[in-house]
Amino acid sequence: MRRGWALALAVVVLAAGTWLWWNGRAPAYDWGIDARIPAPPVPVDNPMSVAKVELGRRLFYDRRLSVNGTMACATCHLQALAFTDGRPVSVGATGEAHPRGAMSLVNVAYASRLTWANNLLSRIEDQALIPLFSEHPVEMGMNGREDAIADLLREDPVYQRSVANVFPRDEDPYSIINAVHAIAAFVRSIVSFDSPYDAFLRGDPSALSPAAQRGLDLFFSERFECFHCHGGFNFTDSSTHENATIESVGFHNNGLYNLDGEGAYPPDSTGLIDLTGQRRDMGRFKAPSLRNVAVTAPYMHDGSLATLDDVLDHYAAGGRVVESGPLAGDGRRSPFKSEFVRGFELTDAERADLLAFLHALTDERVLTDERWSDPF
C-alpha cells in the first residue's frame, strides 16, 4: 500500500515538474491589454520577457547612447506626450534638425510599417538602428562608436547583470544586437487601449460625452472620410496584429504641398518617393495612429500644422494653399493627392464634436504608467 502511495506521489511530482518546466520554458508575455484585442506580432528571434523589457527601458532612457551624452531615445519620445517631443521637427544630439517630427510610440508594436514614409521597415529592431547610427541628419550619432555601446553594457554594473540574465545563451551577450533587441522589446511593450473611447467600446456609454459620441459618428462618416486612412483599432491603415491574415500598408498624399504645380514636396522630405524613386509616390506619407492625438501636436510629418483645429481646416479645404515663400503652391491641386482628401463643409458644432471625439482618444494610463517611465 505504501509503495502505491509513493508511486502516485512520484507521478504527481513528475507531472507538476513537467508542467513547471514547460511553462518556465516560454512564459507567455502579459501585454496588459483587453483579451478582445489581439496581441501585436513579435519577431521569432526577439521574444518578449519582463526582464528584457526592463533592460530595454533603461537603455531607452540612457543618454550614454548618444555621441555626446546629451540624448536618449526618450529625448524625442516623451511619455507625457505619448512618446513624441512636441516639436515640429526633432533635433539630434549635435543640434542638427531632422526634416521630420518624432512619431508617437504608443501601440507602434501594431504598425505594419515604421517611420513616416518607408515601405521596407516593419521591425522595430531594424528601425532602431536609424536614430542610433544615422548621419543625414545625425540623431544620436553613435556611428563609428559601436564599441562604446558594447562597453557600456559590459562595464555598467546594472547592465552587466541584466544583459547576462536576459541573454544567458550568448557567448558574449554584451553586443549591439542585444541592446537593440532590448530597446525594441521595450518599445513594443508600450501598448495600451484605455482611452475613454475604449471604455465606451467596452460598454460604458457614460465614458464618452454626447459631443464626443456625435464626433465619433462624424469621424466614421463617408462625408468626412477620416476613417479611410485612420481606421481600425489603432486609427491607422498601416496596422497589423498577431492574427492578421492580410498585410495592411498605406501611404497617402494629403495635399500639404505643391511647389511646382506638378505636386512637388520640399526636397528635404518628399515622402515615399525618396525610397522608391517612383513619381506616383511624391508626398506619400504614412497615416499615423490618432490615439492620443490631442497630446501629439504639432501635426503632419514636418509639424507644419500647429493644432487640431488647423488639421480640420486643412482637410475641410481639401489641401493647403501656401501663398508665398519658397514653399508656395496649391496643395489642393496636387496630382498625387489622395482621393479621400476632397474637402467638406464643417459647421462650428460639428467641429466641436469632432474635437471632442479626438480628445477622447487620449489614454491617460499610457502617459503616466510607471512601467514606461524614466528609471534613472
Binding site: L120, F133, S134, E135, G144, S175, D274, T276
Partner: protein, 259 residues
C-alpha cells in the same frame, strides 16, 4: 552548427584552392586624389570609403582570373574588401581613425595586363541584418539602415566652401528590410583599368565630382542615391550612371591607374 564552425571547415578548402602550383600573392593599393594631385584630410578630402568585390586580374589575352581575398577579420572577408582612405581627423570629421589602403589576396601566377573589380556588395549579402554580419560588413558607418543594404561608396570632397558628396548604394528596393526581393537601382559600379600593373596604385580621384557641380550649386551637394534626387542626377554620371534613369551607360570616372 555555428557560423564559426562552418568557417573552420571552409578554411582548409580555401587553402587547398588558393595554394595551386602557380599561385602568387596579390596586392592592390589605393590613393586618394583630387584633380590629379594627392588629396588628404588636411585639405580637400572629406570622406572616402568603399567596398571592393569581384576582383580579377586581366591577362594579355583578355581572360579574367579571380583574385581570392583572404579573411583578415576586419577589412576583408566573404570575398569582399573594405577600403578606407580617410582618417577621421581634419576635414574628415565623422570618419573612423583606422584605415585600410589596400586589398590583398592570391591569384594564379602570370602576366597581368589590367585589373577589374566592382564597387559594391553582392546582392546576396547586401540585405542581411548588419548586426549579425561578419567583417567587413559589420561596419555600421557603411550600412544604410533606412534604405536597407550597404553604402557601397562614401565619397566627399571640398573646394573652399563647396562640397560634393555621394553615398552610393542600391535604391528603389522592394520587400522588407532583411528580406529584400530586388532593387530598381542596384547601383554597383564596374571598374576596368586596362593599364594597371602590379605595384602601381589605383587613384581614386574625386575631382570629377566637383567638376560636375553646376556653377550655382549651394554649399553642399549631397546624393544619397535617391532615384528622384536632383543631387544624384548631378553626381551619379561621374560613376557612369545616367542621371535620370539610373542606368549604367558610360565608364566610371573616379578610379584610374595612378601615374
Amino acid at each position: 552548427m555555428s557560423i564559426t564552425a562552418h568557417l573552420r571547415l571552409l578554411v582548409p578548402l580555401w587553402l587547398v584552392a588558393a595554394c595551386g602550383p602557380a599561385d602568387a600573392p596579390f596586392e592592390m593599393r589605393f590613393v586618394a586624389a583630387n584633380g590629379g594631385v594627392p588629396a588628404d584630410c588636411a585639405g580637400d578630402l572629406a570622406d572616402l570609403r568603399f567596398y571592393v568585390s569581384e576582383l580579377a586580374v586581366v591577362r594579355p589575352d583578355g581572360r579574367h582570373d579571380t583574385v581570392s581575398l583572404g579573411d583578415n577579420g576586419r577589412w576583408q572577408g566573404q570575398g569582399i574588401g573594405l577600403v578606407d582612405l580617410e582618417g577621421g581627423a581634419g576635414t574628415c570629421a565623422n570618419g573612423t581613425p583606422d584605415g585600410n589602403d589596400r586589398i590583398v589576396g592570391r591569384v594564379a601566377d602570370g602576366e597581368v595586363a589590367g585589373i577589374a573589380f566592382r564597387i559594391g556588395v553582392p546582392f546576396e549579402r547586401n540585405h542581411a541584418d548588419p548586426l549579425l554580419a561578419a567583417p567587413p560588413l559589420d561596419d555600421m558607418s557603411m550600412h544604410w539602415h533606412w534604405r536597407s543594404g550597404y553604402k557601397f561608396l562614401r565619397a566627399a570632397v571640398k573646394d573652399g566652401d563647396r562640397r560634393a558628396s555621394v553615398h552610393l548604394g542600391s535604391a528603389g528596393c522592394r520587400g522588407a528590410v532583411t528580406a529584400i526581393e530586388g532593387c530598381d537601382r542596384p547601383n554597383r559600379v564596374d571598374v576596368h583599368l586596362p593599364g594597371w600593373r602590379p605595384g602601381v596604385a589605383v587613384a581614386v580621384d574625386l575631382g570629377p565630382l566637383l567638376d560636375a557641380l553646376p556653377p550655382d550649386s549651394g554649399p553642399v551637394t549631397h546624393c544619397e542615391s535617391g532615384p528622384a534626387d536632383p543631387a544624384c542626377a548631378t553626381l551619379l554620371p561621374v560613376l557612369g550612371f545616367d542621371g535620370r534613369t539610373g542606368e549604367a551607360l558610360t565608364e566610371q570616372r573616379l578610379f584610374h591607374t595612378a601615374r
